[in-house]
Symmetry: C2
Subunit: 282 residues, 2 copies
């Protein structure tokens, strides 16, 4: 596996691969790789001539009071995990390579980015869309792999690809969970053993909501209230939001039908966690 | 010359040309072609295997009180002029081809887009940057040709290309002027004979400012005041702005040095006109 730090070199390599007709699978990450990321890399390796993994803790997608500085950066470990999962090329640029002095362009996705994570983290998705546009141009992927855990982000990336006419296919892969059900996240590293148990309240609430929908409930307000109640009942967990929404628009419908996304965000201690489940409603 | 209306077909043709290693020159326009556009097309034809001209009156770059509805759309004439100037392909999509239902992505360029046209026309450059990003992806040009007349726009397009790492070269071609000096613009068609004479006040002010700089003046405030005075003295012409700025940042410097852009915008009757001159200051 080769490691590239320079944006110009990355672009040159990707263009050569493109000219050679190679199919490139791309897995954008912020590093601190876990089994969720590895499953994306393996999925890409199974279908592509070449797998590029990017490791870049994108300053643009962190708010001023967020965890940019303390976000884990275990580069040696990331390198080993990426290679073991089947990555051929690791693109790990320093920030000035992606955002050289004078950089001033932003990409923004409209209504999809407004609610939920977008309203909890102003500017977050603008940062995500911008870095993704730059990374796509530098890596020229055939297919990009993202995790369902960041469901709103996955929808936004898909919208950006469609709207900007990028010749890229998006594959959203299932969330990988710890044995107890906690969604894998690089931020789980922040959790103490006690917080790890508390954090499960979010997944349990999503699962209870799914069960209630499967049992026939169609009122999104009732489902949201159920999740909120379960999360609020758990000591040490602070609810940010919990909702049952249309899985394509992320808007709460009048009645649940078609594909529904159950979304939730909580804080456990200083750590912010999100999770979701998709439910097909007949 | 072939005419393409469908975005999908345009993308397919451009990708085929790219695979064949063809060098594509691209001239984005809003139609109502004049000699300024034709000079861009001829410049592109002289250097490229294939010249694509787009004709698209981009709704996103017009404000609610601007002239989107009355903007001239002489398509048959545009077609003849583009072909005569050397265009191989005319891309003239209806709006729904570029912005299908649900379209919600925007591209924005920062500080460069804030002053001058950006502050006079809120949202204008966001619309320009967005359509340009979409058009570039659909036409995959080697080189894009724009006119110096829209100088701020040219800088913004250049910044977008750099920041998003697009493999495109930008060529800014000299402003083409009527015999009297009026900068060619599709909006000149709105002017009566009297207004056409009044409109010259802007070019005359820019020229006087250039002469004053060449005679040794280095204070941007003095140059701006000279231009404003000349424009305000002309009956029937309303000044919007006139300034002497750094030609790269568009910010007014403390003293004029290096490459200086003289920028101006006026209204003559209902018509808004812009013009500029570049001056090298030793």
């Amino acid at each position: 596996m080769i490691v590239i730090r320079s944006a110009a070199r990355m672009a040159a390599v990707a263009r050569r691969l493109e000219r050679e007709g190679k199919r490139i699978g791309f897995v954008p990450t912020m590093g601190a790789l876990h089994e969720g990321h590895c499953s994306l890399i393996r999925a890409a390796a199974a279908r592509h001539d070449m797998v590029i993994v990017s490791v870049f803790v994108n300053p643009l997608q962190f708010g001023p009071r967020e965890d940019f500085a303390r976000y884990p950066r275990p580069f040696g470990r990331d390198r080993r995990l990426a290679r073991a999962a089947g990555a051929d090329l690791l693109f790990a640029p320093p920030a000035r390579e992606l955002y050289p002095p004078g950089f001033q362009t932003a990409v923004e996705v409209g209504p999809l980015a407004r609610r939920w994570e977008g309203s909890a983290r102003p500017g977050h998705f603008r940062g995500v869309a911008t870095v993704v546009a730059v990374l796509f141009e530098l890596t020229r992927p055939t297919t990009v792999y993202v995790g369902q855990k960041d469901y709103q982000q996955a929808l936004i990336v898909g919208q950006l690809i469609r709207d900007l006419r990028l010749p890229i296919r998006l594959r959203v892969q299932p969330t990988v969970r710890e044995p107890g059900g906690l969604a894998m996240s690089s931020r789980n590293a922040y959790l103490s053993a006690a917080e790890r148990r508390q954090a499960l309240a979010l997944f349990h609430a999503l699962r209870a909501a799914r069960a209630r929908i499967r049992a026939g409930e169609r009122r999104p307000g009732r489902i949201a209230a159920l999740m909120r109640g379960l999360i609020r009942a758990k000591a040490g967990v602070r609810l940010e939001y919990a909702a049952a929404v249309d899985a394509r628009t992320l808007e709460p419908p009048r009645r649940l039908r078609g594909r529904v996304a159950l979304l939730g965000a909580v804080r456990v201690g200083r750590t912010r966690l999100i999770d979701n489940l998709l439910v097909g409603v007949p």
